[in-house]
Amino acid sequence: MFETGATGRVGYFLGLITVLIALWLGLSWDYSLKPVIASLGAVSIFLSAVLAYRFDILDREGSPYGRLFQLMAYWVWLMVEIFKANWVVIKACLRSTLDINPALVKVKTGCESDLARTVFANSITLTPGTVSVEIEGDKILVHALFEEEAGPGAFDEMDRRAREASDGRRKP
């Protein structure tokens, strides 16, 4: 289903190197052109890449930059959801009489790859009012502050978007 051959590995390696260089340039900024510091940066980037290769984490989870644009688009959607959910929890925090309805619900996910499941479970946790407690197979145990916020179908759109952002659209 996913690239696993030699070309795939090279792609993950190049993606990791590119992101490490961009991170290093972004963090060191105007020192980046002095030769001594630049060579230290080059050595550290090389060492990080070698370590990633030795740890055998150069796969589509360790270097998911091939889907960068889809994941960023998903991130934008998620930020809107996070702020909407924040509002609900803020109101619950400040209500003069405590009025919450916590519940444990099982959410079935259509995400198949580990990357998509991680993105989905982390999105649930990031959204205030819901925390993913445990993952068993394709079911995620979610604790919610309000049962009505976590009713059937409440996570369907997030599930679909996380899956499409991480794994691409499912072929019909």
Binding site: I82, N86, T97, L98, I100, N101, T125, V131
Partner: protein
Amino acid sequence: MTEILDLWHAFRPALGSALLLVGAVLAVIGTIGVLRFPDFYTRLHAASVTDTAAATLAIVGMALLAPSLAVVVKLAVVWLFLFLTGPTSSHALANAAHTAGLQPMIGRLGEDDGGGE
């Protein structure tokens, strides 16, 4: 065009300060929630307000007050790592509590149930 830029530079510090203030207020609200909610799991939800909205607004406010683009890039990286590691630690806490057998309080809870164990 320059007028718009001038206006932006005039409003930038005020906007940044306002966002920082809102972020700080949200952090206080999250703290109030942590103190008021009855059990571990519900308190985790209140803390996530501080994790997400308060942190985001504070970082955007700091970026608006930043003297150079280098600082903005560093703040962006801080924000990114905060959003990648925050849910991981929340999940680790919740999972550890669940594995240890801590039962969450379920069902509608009113004022009588509040104020801690």
